[in-house]
């Protein structure tokens, strides 16, 4: 068997693949957080719970109505995004004039409510969700076996991330959004409906989390606690990348996923903490984050 640095290549590439998968989820979730923070000035602690909701939504759609994976990929983000819009309209809207710590506290409370409710009814063990027919099996790349579904997750998440980047950085709608992030009252004075834009932005960020949740369902199983620990890692990812740049969030997400995967190969004991250690190092060297601007 071939080895690299004394590690069998099979294990190395296997962990690299898992790292890329995790990185795809870090990227999608931190992207949503960054978009929401940019316009609402709120750190959405419910993000992990909304990711979990997306997975549950796919599960219910399949169990109750027989709607399969592909339609879930469209429907779950819309449904969960709509729930997000209701949350924004009824609760978050009251907090914009206050210190943004309150936004964090409110969304933390909501996350507890959602996770508690689902744990009550579905326990803390996961429920399996089958990989869709079309993506069963895999490719033999010679040096490793690449399951089709994993390839699909990595590929489509890159497309989604780049699509989001394109909309925000290269379209007219995106330019409104960036302008409103800089100076909402001025943009409103130009006749653009900023409150509605804020609502839709929150809905979009939440839908992104739900989309990630549906993608995660066949890999990690559907579990009420699936978002709880993930969101803390994503926070560290956001601190490392800085929330100033969309591309930065994507690169940081994938990069950290890969580093985490490699740590599992070379020093498994540290694989849970490596991202936090990197956060500490980045804070010491460049406190604003790798892609952040000092303000």
């Amino acid at each position: 068997m071939t080895e690299i640095f004394g590690v069998p290549t099979q294990a190395l590439f296997g962990q690299l693949l898992i790292g890329l998968i995790n990185g795809a989820f870090y990227a999608m979730l931190s992207l949503g957080l960054a978009v929401i923070f940019g316009l609402l000035n709120i750190i959405n602690f419910t993000h992990g719970a909304q990711y979990m909701l997306g997975a549950f939504c796919a599960y219910f759609l399949l169990q109750l109505t027989g709607v399969g994976y592909w339609w879930s990929l469209v429907l779950a983000p819309i449904i969960v995004g709509a729930i997000g819009i209701v949350i924004e309209r009824t609760m978050l809207v009251r907090l914009y004039k206050l210190d943004h710590l309150y936004g964090l506290l409110l969304t933390f409370g909501l996350a507890l409510v959602l996770q508690g409710l689902f744990t009550n009814y579905y326990g803390s063990s996961g429920m399996p969700y089958r990989i869709p027919e079309e993506l069963n099996g895999g490719f033999n790349l010679g040096f490793m076996f690449l399951p089709k579904y994993r390839a699909w997750v990595i590929g489509s998440s890159i497309v989604i991330c780049l699509g989001t980047w394109f909309v925000i950085e290269r379209t007219k709608l995106g330019s409104y959004l960036r302008a409103a992030t800089e100076n909402p009252s001025l943009v409103q004075a130009f006749g653009i409906n900023v409150p509605r834009m804020i609502t839709l932005t929150y809905g979009f960020g939440v839908a992104l989390a739900a989309f990630a949740g549906v993608m995660a369902a066949p890999i990690y199983q559907v579990n009420p606690q699936m978002g709880a620990n993930l969101i803390i890692v994503v926070f560290a990812v956001v601190v490392i990348g800085g929330m100033g740049s969309i591309l930065g969030a994507i690169i940081t997400g994938f990069g950290l996923g890969v580093i985490e995967g490699l740590t599992k190969v070379f020093y498994p004991e540290a694989s849970n903490t490596v991202i936090f250690v990197i956060m500490v190092i980045v804070l010491l060297i460049k406190p604003a984050g790798l892609f952040g601007k000092e303000r």
């Binding site: 210190d99 964090l104 409370g109 909501l110 409510v113 803390i232 601190v239 250690v277 956060m279 500490v280």
Partner: protein
Amino acid sequence: MATTAAPPAAAAAAGEVIGAAGDTRTFAIATLAMALAFAVAPHVGVYPVFLMKALCFALFACAFNLLIGFGGLLSFGHAMFLGVAGYASAYSAKNWGFPPELAILFATAVAALLGLVSGALAIRRQGIYFAMITLALAQMVYFFCLQAPAITGGEDGIQSVPRGRLFGVLDLSSTLALYYVVLVIFLTAFVLIYRIIYSPFGNVLKAIRENEPRAISLGYDAERYKLLAFVLSATLSGLAGATKAIVFQLASLTDVHWSMSGEVVLMTLLGGMGTIFGPVVGAFVIIGLENYLSGFGQWVTVITGAIFVVCVLAFRRGVVGEIGAWWARRKGRLGGRS
């Protein structure tokens, strides 16, 4: 940050009523009344173990309040100080045979050191990032505790910690004796926190909270003040954790978990951020609630979350803050009439 940090502005107004700088007498009377009530409580049928648990958490919440209420810094990782100090006191008492007073002191020092390191890192960023960094650091500490079973006992924790004899004289295996020791620890720390808040240091801290650039332009080294506040808060949280470990003869992962960090935020928010007595009230309500609902499993989480939401939306001053504001309004009305 362009926005000024003024989360407890409303609460601060209430704080003026309950123990403003010149109003030490009101504070002394209220504290004496509280001490008396606690001293009598176990003799009128209140379960002392419950009281000890609530007092430990009240101290924890007061220490946390020192940071959020008067420094304007929201830490989302305070469980690390509670939990690590718990491990340190349990480990030193059990494996090194430390007497309880030494174990608690040692653990408090460990928490202070951890506070110094994590605080120095966290104050490099402000506002929302500060909260995220403290949360991430606490999660790192959690994983460390989980993966170092040689020290922490992993999933089992450190069990059957000896309570020992205080100063070699007082046998703490008597629950009532232990209760009064915990009460003395709590009251001492409580008065100390009051002294800190109304010291020149506390006033500078409040100035930094209200307007950091201005405080800096007046020549105050804001970072140093924030760091000192963080270390003080961590130290007192550690004292709470160390005492708790001796009381329950147990140090476990629960105390390092992020949900514990959330719980102390909730206690402070519910009781009233930036008020002196608020965290004590909040801690008793939450611990009482958990005791009462302990048979309902995950519903506790749901209710805890719901209280969070209600507090943020409708009740930002907390219980004590609301009472203070009501009192101030009433006084204002009376003052207008005379």
